[in-house]
Subunit: 153 residues, 2 copies
DNA sequence: GCAAGATAGTTCAACTCTGAACCATCGACG
DNA sequence: CGTCGATGGTTCAGAGTTGAACTATCTTGC
């Protein structure tokens, strides 16, 4: 491999990216936990399911969207079923398949927690930049995510 | 809390940010592990220590930089001492204190692994945008990180 | 100097994640 | 149709993380 090094400015940018990412996740997770006893990972599960018209997603599909391993999702859904935020339902078309389904209680929790979460995103992220800067950042990182998604491992 | 919602464009940008972040970490971690049997977390430890003139950092200081809990860092350093990449040294000024110190073997591993890592950052991140876009992104996220760093919990 | 509280780091038990092994079902091909 | 590789999901054992409790040392203020 011929190394294509990062120059100083690029290296600083990369460090900032890493640092902002980890600190932002950490902060949003703590704030959400403090306010609603809900971790960011569980929050993301609720978001994805709530956006489906039928409030459900196949386990594998959900795992892929969250970029979680299958077994990680199995355990996470187990816990969220225990707490009543989700249920599992058998897939009628494919007897191997399972749906994770968000319950009314899950939807209620999401509705309660969302303002806290959004407010955190505002205060910690978007308030630090102009709207254009934020949309620009989203556009650029959308390309990055898309490329990573398209190249399967 | 008066919710200041994200409009559709902002919401998409936020989703892209989350998605790029998690997928990029996942990919870089896997590539580094595959090539050098080294996780991204351990890599970051090596980077931080190697940048110090005396190749060492106090445990708490290192934990703060990595945004890891103290106990998480204790265990991580334990493992890296086992594998020979780090040693612990007593702090002479403060008998409570411990330094984590990178060994020659650790430096060697870092030197071997760095090209893989940098190449991954290039391919997956910076090749998807112009240099200016990347530096702009770094500048903006630098502000975000700085603000998060300055507000203690 | 010395008590009281703060700080550094480790340890503990509980919880979470990992990747491989596993079982069931599906789909394609002969 | 029946076999065989692929896919969906769970389970298992081992590794990693968490936050609270703990020990030792430091610092402050009297």
């Amino acid at each position: 491999m011929t190394p294509r090094w990062l120059d100083d400015a690029e290296q600083a940018a990369w460090r900032h990216f890493l640092d902002a990412q980890i600190r932002l996740n950490d902060r949003l997770d703590r704030e959400l936990r403090a306010a609603h006893d809900l971790g960011l990972d569980d929050y993301e599960v609720l978001v994805h399911l709530s956006e489906q018209p039928d409030l459900r997603l196949r386990m594998s599909d959900l795992a892929d969207r969250l970029v979680h391993s299958r077994s990680r999702l199995t355990y996470r859904v187990d816990r969220m079923v225990q707490t009543g935020y989700l249920t599992r339902e058998q897939c009628p078309d494919d007897k191997r398949g399972t749906f994770a389904v968000i319950t009314p209680l899950g939807l209620e929790l999401l509705a309660t927690a969302a303002p806290t979460h959004v407010d955190g995103v505002r205060r910690h992220l978007t308030d630090q930049m102009s709207r254009d800067e934020f949309l620009q950042l989203g556009a650029v990182l959308g390309r990055v995510a898309e490329q990573l998604r398209s190249e399967g491992d």
